[in-house]
Symmetry: C2
Subunit: 203 residues, 2 copies
DNA sequence: AGTGGATGGTAACACTTGTTACAACCTGAA
DNA sequence: TTCAGGTTGTAACAAGTGTTACCATCCACT
């Protein structure tokens, strides 16, 4: 079990003895099946959630809006670290398994104590938190980019390729035919081409 | 000087002696004039930046896009805390003073040491970081809301009023006439009305 | 080979938003 | 008062995106 934790960069520098210390506090380990919901909108976040195994999808919706896939996350990964210590710790996204998976729950105070006494863990957690922020910043930035056309080019620059048109449309928050049309235009202008891996940049 | 720091929630629980400890490390204090740039896109973030006095505006742009005003911040406020410990600590926004102001710079390692040994500061900083993340999440969410009409209603719900049409248009990332038009529609439908403070919700 | 399901391309049309331009209004300064 | 500068309302048109619908293709399964 402790090996499962050691796959995380967060704990990679901890010896087994040190991690055993963390596990003296109460914790939980849950197994999820494919398509199960891990987090629902409005859940409060009182535990560090560690995705040990499996792949999840985080979706953000709103009554009046389209649903956008914020992110697809693969184990090992910390889920929603940004809400653990927030004043308003209700989670605004839905998280679903897209495969079978395992999640550990470590209570906030236990983790806080542990982190306080292990500065390499603290440093790493601050890094994780910050990286989530920069990720969100880039999301915000991408919405500020004008025109679907440019956002698609941005997307391909960052991800290298578009393998699934409909899934990418969900991430970009646009209708599938709209993305299809733009890709057709970009192909006509020789800016992208199809390869075996999907749409890639030309030149 | 130390009183300036104590206005921050981050340090509010620290005694003067404890803060004096932090200031034994090198630090800087800079005065900015109105319209001065505090941070430029691409700057790396190696110090904790504390806005002691004044008001700033954070703008995010891109070659191909409109410029969006991400946030307007008022002292006392930590600037860009999320980039201090990020793997990629280059800041993606421009920060400008909109008034005169003062910023303190405290080096990352000094602050890290200080935080490690003062758990109330650590807790508070984690809170700040997390709150920035939830703020960004809500930004992302607002872009996912469909239709300017609904985004405007959301905006008024959150802020209570729209005092300046052109400034709000910048925040929402839309053209001013578009916002004007939508506001006219909403007035015609009795969903908003003008008051002395600007546009407010009706009923 | 046949079938059903998922994915992708495309077209026609409606709707929303951007662009540009101009006029009305307000405020402070000369 | 007059003027300049800034903000807002509005109109006409251009451009982009959403919606809906239909068809083609591919793949797994029988």
């Amino acid at each position: 079990m402790i090996k499962e934790l050691q796959q995380f960069p967060l704990f990679s520098q901890c010896s087994e003895e040190v991690l055993a210390e963390l596990l003296r506090w109460p914790y939980q380990r849950k197994v999820f099946k494919e398509y199960n919901r891990v987090v629902r909108v409005g859940d409060t976040c009182d535990s560090l959630m560690l995705l040990i195994e499996g792949v999840v999808e985080a979706r953000m919706g709103s009554e009046t809006g389209r649903e956008v896939v914020i992110d697809r996350l693969q184990a090992p990964m910390i889920l929603a670290p940004a809400f653990l210590f927030a004043k308003d710790n209700t989670i605004p996204v839905e998280v679903f398994m897209t495969t079978e998976g395992v999640v550990w729950y470590i209570h906030r105070e236990a983790f806080f104590q542990f982190m306080s006494t292990h500065s390499e863990v603290l440093r790493s957690f601050l890094g994780e938190l910050s990286d989530r922020s920069t990720f969100l910043s880039s999301k915000v930035r991408s919405f500020a980019v004008k025109g679907l056309r440019n956002r698609v080019l941005d997307y391909i620059r960052q991800h290298g390729t578009i393998t699934s048109v409909s899934k990418t449309a969900e991430v970009l928050g646009v209708a599938r035919p709209s993305l299809s049309r733009v890709l057709a235009d970009l192909q006509a202008e020789d800016l992208v081409k199809r390869s075996k891996e999907g749409f890639v940049r030309r030149r």
